[in-house]
Structure formats: structure tokens, C-alpha cells
């Protein structure tokens, strides 16, 4: 297959080609520009077809898990579907963590997996695994294609399902004989899924009820999640407009950061376990909560029985199964966030609605008192770098540049969420639902591929970064100027923090022993290695990192004992936050029910 046949095949004309060629043709017709993958025996025909064309670019990762995370970074920073191509057996099983991550965080992914030839399926053939069986619970949907004449249609359906409704990963398993077989190609214009039609337009009665509650609120709060970001930039603009029209406070989940400008005075920052004091107390004391594309996750709600006890709750979500799953709500609104919020904006303007200004002023006065607690404050001594300080300085240095931040998982992730303010959606990529250590570096790779000229930084911990460090090689190969900003405290910090608070300071296996010299490691991968060990070195190191148009690993040696506060302990309510080691909550201990929670 040449580039010409990819683009010159006429519409409507039955086109015969091999299954492998169909895969490429279908990707082109779906507008795919980049595929993240790793070859192997069961996908060789597709790699051969890939070799003979120039429309689709292939990024060769170093581990299949990273291929999925890279596709996630690509998808979340562009709004497009991320595409992955891996081989059978270990290729597919290695992708499982990434697929689960994408399912939990609703990221549209199409993952093509090779499979042994159909006549060998079930025979324990070399590099065989039951890919559809293994991935069934960790995908939105999956397919095994047994007939080459069903292949093109299946891939088009996979893209449709991945991006429609609540997005998610879809696996298409492709036996090798199907890739070799000849069949008729059908284009996406001729494919319509026979039943899957998620509801995007809201029920007018639900909208009306939501509007009534919003308009009559005295202590309102918008609680905005990743569904708003997923709904697209227009949805985020509509939400921002609604917030400004009403003057109501806004808090965001970890996944929702950037949906509303983080620097806006109406933003209370992040809600939840390590969210701001003002956000969590506002959640606790509000009288009308408007959940917008958020899912009442346990990291947000804390103790369910004590969750926001005085509020009427509106829940706007495209996924009906998210509604009333953890928290019973008063007004469910099933639909696309953009459509729903757009209608609420129109109603607010059209009816000349006015917020109860006196009640709202009192509410803001109360919020401002909570704000005055300054819950993220920390002391920066001369001797040792506080991790918060490093992130704060990084944030200051990045202002004014288009910056995409990815993270690994742990304390550094929470500090990044607390101290980095995002004014636009799709610029913050983190593993929220699954909490996948090793996510940030490959995700940054995917973001940088999509945005070659932007500044892409993976804020990492020294433990997480080692989980997918092999991707430094991919970064080198494609000359991606990704910056890795490691907060190195020589501990799996969040594990250590929980062991300190819950397990009597018995630091079982949480010390990062035998760490590599990250500066030399950078050098080994052809990247620039930098290190800061003292507070007065932080700015210089950041400056140097940003000045270099090459991949950089920065090893910021930070305080080993710093804990991430504020914190709602497991099993506690929002108004039982621990503010810090010397916080004002007194003798806060974790309850017995809390101990068994994660």
C-alpha cells in the first residue's frame, strides 16, 4: 500500500485490500496522525503496512504500558482519540495498566492488539493470551475480529465508542490471519453502531429543576470534575460564564483542574483529601451543590455519612451510572456538560436571574475567613528545600508560557495540584482514578508529540519516575524536549506519610534505597541532568531547565520528612481536616473504619 492508495481510493467504490492495509486506511479515515506502539510477531503485517505509508506516524515506545499512557497524554491534551498498537500476549498484558487507567479517567483510547491466528486461538499458542477476556473489565468495550470483512467496520465502531458519551478505552484484537486476509474496506461514513447512543441532550424538566435550585441558592458551590474537561473547551467556557454570571464559588476535583481558571478569585482550588480548607468546608456547609462532570469519588467525599449534610445536590453527568452511585442527589441531569451548562447560561441570561446578593456576600465572607487560614502555607528554611517551594518556584517560572504539566502519583502529585494553577483545560494530565505510578513520563511524551513547541513538564517523585524510566530512551529517539522535575525525598512519600500517621511510624519498605544518580542517568539517556540541594539553587536550576531545548531531568533534593497537608484522614468528614503537623484540629486520629479504607 502506498500513500497514494491510502488517499486516492474513491468514495463508494468497493475497495479490496489486506486486513493490515485496512487498519492503516481506517486510521487515516479516522483522522489519526500518531500511533504509539511496539511491534511483535502477531502485528508484523500491520507494521509492514505502516512501513509503506507516510500518513500515520508511529512512535516506538520502550514498554507497552507507556504506549497507552503516551496515548492518554496525547488524547487529554488534544481532545482527540489516542491510538495504541501492540502485539499479542505480553504486548496486550503490558497494556492492561494503561487501559485501566484510561477507563478510570475516561480517556478516549483505541488499542489495537495483535492476536495469534484464529485457528490457534485457545491452543496456548506462543504469545497467546485471552486478550478480550483479560481486557473486558478494563475497557469500555472490546472486540475480537474473526472476519477480515468485519475489520474496517469494527475499527470505526471502536473510535465511535471510545469518543462518545463518557469516553474510554476500546480494544480491537486482530488475529494475524485476519491481518493477512483480503477483504472489502468500508469507510467511516458507512458505519453506524446499531444501538449505542448515549444521551447527550438533557431532559428539560431536569434542567428546569436545576435552574430553580441554582437561582435560589444562598450558599451555593460548583463542584467541577474531569467530565467538564472531557466535554471540551466550549463546556469549560460555558461553565466559566455561568460561574461569573452567578458569582458563585467554584471548586475542582483533581481531574477537573483547569476547567475553571485556577487563578480566578472565584476558584477555591482543589477539593478532597488533599484539597484546600476553604473548598472542603464550602462543600460541607453549602446549601446547593452543583456537581458538574464529577463523580463523588471517595477521595472527594471523605466519610459519606457526613458528606455535605445541608445541601441540595444537582448532578450533571453524561454517565447515568455515576448518578446516585455514592451519594444520593436531589436533581440528576443526564447529559453532556457543555449542552447542560450552555442551557443554564441561556436561562440565567434570558430570565434575568439574579443571585441573592446578601446571602452570597455572607457566604463569601465565610469562605474568605476559611481562606485566611492559608491552608497550604509552609516554612522554607535556609537549609533544606521544601517540596512546596520547588513547585511554587516552578509555577512562577512557567507563567506566560504555554505549559503542560503531567505528574506521577504520590505527594508530589498533590503538591503539584495544590501549587500549580491552571487557567485552561487540557493542560494538566495526571492519573486520578487508578493512581498509576509511572504515568507522568510517558504521558508527557504523548503531550509533547501533540504539542512540539510547548513546554511539557513531568512533575515526579524519585520512586514513581523509576517505574517507566525506560521511556527516556523514546524521548531521546524523538528529540522530545520533555522536562522531568523530580522531587527527591528518597521515600515513597505518600506511603511514608500514611505509615507515619496510621502505622506508628513503621516505615515498612517505603525507603527508596539504591537510587540512581539522576544527573548521570540523564546523561546516559542523552538528556541534560541538573540537581538542586539547597533552597537558593532552585531558581537557577529551573531557569537552566527552561532554557535548554532538550530533554532535562532535574533532581530536586527535598525535605525527606515533609507531609502533604491539609489532609482529610480516611473515614473522616470534610470538617475534620488536619491542617498540618501543628494544625488546629487537635488530637486527630484515624478512626477504626478509616483504617481499613485506602
Amino acid at each position: 500500500m502506498t500513500t497514494e492508495t491510502l488517499t486516492s481510493a474513491r468514495e463508494g467504490q468497493p475497495t479490496t485490500m489486506s486486513g493490515a492495509e485496512m487498519v492503516l486506511r481506517a486510521l487515516v479515515d479516522q483522522g489519526v496522525e500518531v500511533v504509539f506502539g511496539y511491534p511483535g510477531g502477531a502485528v508484523l503485517p500491520i507494521y509492514d503496512a505502516l512501513f509503506k505509508q507516510n500518513s500515520v506516524r508511529h512512535i516506538l515506545v520502550r514498554h507497552e504500558q507507556a504506549a497507552v499512557h503516551a496515548a492518554e497524554g496525547y488524547a487529554r491534551s488534544t481532545g482527540k482519540v489516542g491510538v495504541v498498537l501492540v502485539t499479542s500476549g505480553p504486548g496486550a498484558t503490558n497494556a492492561v495498566t494503561g487501559l485501566t487507567d484510561a477507563l478510570m479517567d475516561s480517556v478516549p483510547i483505541v488499542c489495537l492488539t495483535g492476536q495469534v491466528p484464529t485457528h490457534l486461538i485457545g491452543n496456548d499458542a506462543f504469545q497467546e493470551c485471552d486478550t478480550t477476556g483479560i481486557t473486558r473489565p478494563c475497557t469500555k468495550h472490546n472486540y475480537l475480529v474473526k472476519d477480515v470483512n468485519r475489520l474496517a467496520q469494527t475499527i470505526h465502531e471502536a473510535f465511535y465508542i471510545a469518543r462518545s458519551g463518557r469516553p474510554g478505552p476500546v480494544v480491537v484484537d486482530l488475529p494475524k490471519d485476519v491481518q493477512f486476509g483480503e477483504g472489502v474496506y468500508v469507510g467511516p461514513e458507512n458505519v453506524r453502531h446499531n444501538s449505542y447512543r448515549p444521551q447527550t441532550e438533557p431532559d428539560p424538566a431536569a434542567i428546569e429543576a436545576a435552574f430553580e435550585l441554582i437561582a435560589g441558592a444562598k450558599r451555593p458551590l460548583f463542584y467541577v470534575g474531569g467530565g467538564t474537561v472531557n466535554s471540551g473547551p466550549d463546556a469549560c467556557r460555558a461553565l466559566t460564564e455561568l460561574a461569573r454570571l452567578t458569582g458563585y464559588p467554584v471548586t475542582m476535583t483533581l481531574m477537573g483542574l483547569g476547567a475553571f481558571p485556577g487563578t480566578d478569585p472565584q476558584s477555591l482550588g482543589m477539593v478532597g483529601m488533599h484539597g484546600s480548607y476553604e473548598a472542603n468546608l464550602a462543600m460541607h456547609e453549602c446549601d446547593v451543590m452543583v456537581a458538574v462532570g464529577s463523580r463523588f469519588d471517595d477521595r472527594v467525599t471523605g466519610k459519606l455519612a457526613a458528606f455535605s449534610p445541608h445541601s441540595k445536590k444537582i448532578h450533571i453527568d453524561i454517565d447515568p451510572s455515576s448518578i446516585n452511585k455514592n451519594v444520593a442527589v436531589d436533581v440528576p441531569v443526564v447529559g453532556d456538560v457543555g449542552a447542560v451548562v450552555g442551557q443554564l447560561v441561556a436561562m440565567w441570561k434570558g430570565r434575568g436571574a439574579k443571585a441573592d446578593s446578601r446571602a452570597l456576600a455572607d457566604w463569601w465572607a465565610k469562605i474568605d475567613r476559611w481562606r485566611a487560614v492559608d491552608c497550604f502555607r509552609y516554612e522554607q528554611p535556609d537549609s533544606v528545600i521544601k517540596p512546596q517551594y520547588a513547585i511554587q518556584r516552578l509555577y512562577e517560572a512557567c507563567k506566560g508560557r504555554e505549559t503542560f504539566i503531567t505528574t506521577e502519583v504520590g505527594q508530589h502529585q498533590m503538591w503539584a495540584a495544590q501549587f500549580f494553577r491552571f487557567d485552561r483545560p487540557n493542560h494538566w494530565m495526571t492519573s486520578g482514578g487508578l493512581g498509576t505510578m509511572g504515568y507522568g513520563l510517558p504521558a508527557a511524551m504523548g503531550v509533547q508529540i501533540a504539542h512540539p513547541d510547548a513546554l511539557v513538564i513531568d512533575i515526579a517523585g524519585e520512586a514513581s519516575i523509576l517505574m517507566n524510566i525506560q521511556e527516556m530512551s523514546t524521548i531521546g529517539q524523538y528529540r522530545l524536549p520533555v522536562k522531568v522535575f523530580i522531587l527527591n525525598n528518597e521515600y515513597m512519600g505518600m506511603v511514608r506519610q500514611w505509615q507515619e500517621l496510621l502505622h506508628g511510624g513503621r516505615y515498612s519498605e517505603s525507603y527508596s534505597a539504591s537510587l540512581p544518580d539522576f544527573v548521570k542517568l540523564a546523561d546516559a539517556f542523552g538528556a541534560v541532568g541538573l540537581r538542586a540541594t539547597k533552597p537558593d539553587e532552585v531558581d537557577a536550576v529551573i531557569r537552566e531547565m527552561l532554557a535548554v531545548d532538550r530533554p532535562v531531568i532535574v533532581d530536586v533534593v527535598v525535605d525527606k520528612t515533609e507531609n502533604c497537608f491539609p489532609m482529610i484522614p480516611s473515614g473522616a468528614a470534610h470538617n475534620e481536616m488536619i491542617l498540618g503537623p501543628s494544625g488546629n484540629s487537635g488530637e486527630q486520629t484515624v478512626s477504626e473504619e478509616g483504617m481499613v479504607l485506602v
Binding site: 469500555k140 468495550h141 446516585n324
Partner: protein, 175 residues
């Protein structure tokens, strides 16, 4: 403040495609829901649809959640909560083999007659009864037979349909 546990019967119409039953069962095991009974058969050959009759228990919130999760599966066309919709007919079928002799053998035949069970197979020392009815009735029949000899039982699980003249919409009927 523990919520009461409810028992619900669902009719789930699905595309008859490979793996669809595994998706439904996997959903129940993965999310910790109960399955008391599950039956499946193709009901609409032309549309390639199957109907799953599923009996489950849970609090009202869990029951609603199960329905929402089922509807989220791509090959699921419709989920009907027969328990919520009103009266419905629920039938179970059991094949009961009874091995006995003498008076017990005559008594087994008499009880089968009372229950309206038919004889599908007989030898000089055994019967195979076909017993159809509500699950409770089938339970009592099996219990009585157990008292009259050694038994082996095969059961279909429950199939159910709403009472009345209403026919579900095309997409929900499966046929």
C-alpha cells in the same frame, strides 16, 4: 439506618454477540452484586437479540446502580425492571429424577399429578418429572420428591415477562 434489601427481576435485552454474557456476569462479580438467578436465550433471531432474565437483591440504591451499570454495557439494548413495572409472570422449570419403588413410587406419581408435573422418562425404578411453575412451587415439589427417594435435579432458573396486554417496544422486546 440500614436500608431494606429488595429482590428484583430484570429483563435484559442484549445483542447476541460473543462475550455478552461474560460482560454481564463480570459486571456482577466485579462490582460485588448478587445474582440469584440468571437465564439467557436467543429470542429474536432476525435481530440477533437475546433476553437475559436476571434476579438480584440489594438496597434500592444498589438496584438502581445495577440497572445503570447494565445499561452502560455497549451490547445491552434495554434493561427492564419487571419488579418495578408491576405484576409479572415468573416461571422456573425443573427436571427432577426420582429413584424409588413401591408405595413411594406411587406417591411420587400422585404428587406430580397434584403439581401438574409431567413424566418425561420412566424406568421400573425411576421417573423424570418436568415441573414448571413459580420458583416457590418448584421448590416445594423438589422437597417432596426428596422425601420419596433419591433425587437428581436440573433447573432452568427463572424466566419472566410482564402481565397484561402491553408489548415492549421493538428494541426492548427482542423479537
Amino acid at each position: 439506618m440500614s436500608e431494606p434489601i429488595e429482590r428484583h427481576t430484570f429483563a435484559v435485552i442484549v445483542d447476541n454477540e460473543p462475550g455478552v454474557l461474560a460482560r454481564v456476569i463480570g459486571l456482577f462479580s466485579g462490582r460485588g452484586y448478587n445474582i440469584d438467578s440468571l437465564t439467557v436465550a436467543e429470542v429474536g433471531h432476525a435481530d440477533n437479540l437475546s433476553r437475559i432474565t436476571l434476579v438480584t437483591t440489594g438496597t434500592r440504591m444498589i438496584i438502581e446502580q445495577i440497572k445503570a451499570q447494565l445499561r452502560r454495557l455497549v451490547p445491552v439494548r434495554a434493561v427492564r425492571d419487571l419488579t418495578d413495572e408491576g405484576a409479572f409472570v415468573a416461571k422456573d422449570l425443573a427436571l427432577v429424577k426420582v429413584v424409588n419403588e413401591g408405595a413411594n413410587r406411587r406417591e411420587a406419581l400422585r404428587i406430580a399429578d397434584i403439581f401438574g408435573a409431567t413424566v418425561a422418562d420412566t424406568t421400573l425404578s425411576s421417573f423424570v418429572f418436568v415441573m414448571t411453575g413459580s420458583p416457590d412451587k418448584v421448590d416445594s415439589f423438589i422437597e417432596l420428591m426428596g422425601a420419596l427417594g433419591r433425587i437428581e435435579v436440573a433447573r432452568s432458573g427463572i424466566v419472566a415477562i410482564a402481565r397484561g396486554s402491553e408489548i415492549a417496544g421493538d428494541d426492548e422486546r427482542g423479537g
